[in-house]
Amino acid sequence: MFSVLMITLLLTVLLVGSNMDTILKQGVMFQVRAEIIENPSIANSFSNPDEFEAFIKQKIDERVKTLGLDNPWYSPQRIGLTMYKILILDFGNAAFLTSDSGSSNVGDILLEKIPRTILLFTSATIIISIIGIFLGAASSNKIGSKTDRITSTFAIVSSSFPVWWIGMLMIFLFAFVYQIFPARATPTIDSSEPGYIFSLLYHMTLPLITISLIGFGSWAYLVRNFMVNVLQEDYITAKKIMGIDKKKIIYKHALKNAAPPIITILALSLSGSLGGAIITEAVFDWPGMGRLYFDAISVMDLPVIIGSTYILTVLFLISIFVADLLYGYFDPRMRRGS
């Protein structure tokens, strides 16, 4: 698991390394030139422009050397150094982006954005799974009924719409035609003010509704399919013959036995939604990880890209791990098997 994380990060570094290098070198050149030109006494001490240019060039080379940029970006030392720094969670400073409070430390930026993404997507996942589980259980109760057919159709139809497109429609409908929710999900007031939490929650409503609307159909469909399998088992038939209420069987016994796969998928969909957050957050302008990631890539801010990839991968791996643990907890057969 740890090796997966390292490979991911190494790949990221390899992919963005050369671009980042060029940008950094250009940055150094501008900086050195500006510093020298700002100081007229240095410029005056040279008699001809050629000499002056040579001096600037020499200074740039010196600076490049002290920053370790003279080695090519793919040299083992530099990659090794970057990887070591990542290992000790030192992401360094962002080249362009800053956090809302103005800090350019990547750790600060990430700490500011992660809670927002988790807030939005965890609450969406919770809503989706609650609606999905009950709807799925209800439609597995009477297979072929109206509820069942509507749920299945809705699941198939809703899953083929891109979430971000529905997002655009929702913004069009509920922010402009009926002005109920704000179009941009970034809260307008400062994070230090007391009403900030409420403002954040209010701005979160529209994205939350959109994600839930698109998500719960396929959830209900999955739960239904698992339930159908469980309901064919002998012990359920036995309970039916014993005369136990059908609702009780479904919600108490069948749902419990269908839990392991449902929980696995819950954990996986949570981590999957974090990846999808990039586009969703771009549509709603939600100031979370996804938006940060996209901003970082558009300006090639390597430290931020690495930091975000790190967090996204870690979250992904944690949820796979938790899914495994929960599976073992809910399904004792798995524990004995392994």
């Binding site: 198939i156 497109w165 429609l169 399998n229």
Partner: protein, 454 residues
Amino acid sequence: MSIKTSNDIKNEFLKSKIGITGILILLVLITISVFAIVSTPLSTFQDWNNPEKWITYPKTSVPIWINLFILEKIPEHKIFESENITAEHNDIFLTSQQFRFNYEFNDFPNDFMYDFTLEYSDSPLLEMIVIRPDGTSLKLLSSSLPYSNELIEYKQRIFSADNLLRKNIELQSDTYEFKINDLNLSDIIFSKKTERSVLNGDYVFVVNVYSLETQNTFLESQLIIGGKAFGVMGTDELRRDLAVGLLWGTPLALFIGVSVSIGSVIVGLIYGVYSGYKGKKTDEGMMRFNDVLYALPALPFLIILAVTVSNSIFLMIGFLMIFSWVGIAKVSRSMALQIKTRQYVEAAKIMGQKDSKIIFKHIIPQMLPYVFASIAISVPAAITTEAGLSFLGLGDPSFPTWGQILHDANTYGAAAQGFWWWIMPPGLLIAVTGLAFVFIGNALDTIVNPKLKH
């Protein structure tokens, strides 16, 4: 896994309603693609981002069929062409252009524009007159073109906002019974005499060119009545005809979806089957590699690849393949593990057949129904992922995909300004294309795995 012949599968498929629906939608989409490929040459792809090509089109106008549903007809944007009419009278040569049209909308046109290229020498006189349905004729313009002593091609656009036209109309202001000073020129020309409301009926715009020496010829001549409705799908902020973009998007989406899914299914299948068939250490190693790839966050990597390597559409298809074969490899491995224990595979092995032959002749044919189902099921994901990347502005700019149309819509704030015709169709098309493949895949899936039928 039950063994079914291809005929069984075909028969069962034809019985399933959703399968047929899927095939029908797909056929419609293929027809659209063929039409798009046949009707528009490939070179016009470049024109999508070329503002020069769209200059005569209106800005963000609604589709014309909207007029069928509302009582107040929105003026359509019309482009008229005219035949050359030439005459000679007392040594004066006359070349004339006539644009006759019936104006039947309930609102004034936005503006009008006359765009022409004339081949002439000397200094001819250009005259522009409009004859209205009530019989009155208004003189819009009468001016001589710049002198030239040799034959030249002269290109000019006369706009309704031109001050010269306004002055001419103001000279004839006694035609009207109300004050016309502050009104738009197109509002005056298309208005009733008695009050400021639209006069419907046949209008004729006449353009005459008089010259003394030679006959002049119009090389190009277009009258554009600027409306607020245009085409089957309307236009966007950059005046592009959305119908064209949507039409071109269809073959592209199908191409992207189908090639990604076929590519990744083939790679995943061979990888998985080989790994499962070989077993032991090979299997272990190959599956570990698979696990690593599975744990990579796909979308972030696709974005990095698109930004750093290239956003060419063909490379994008390759990148999408890298991330989509992993799941298929896992499933085909477990299927291969089952099939390889069957007696005929063992028999083939004992007979000393080559591994590759056993895999391709004995194992893979058994999995073909599953393969087709997974090809169909993985198409929508490929299409939506590509659309998502294009939506972020990372698509190939030389090919107008549906995702890019939505990207433009988002950057120009289409949702905020209520340009529903810009947002709805591309998304619907993405969804419908996805649905077609989901339907086909689901129908195949229920046939291949009968357990899901309940």
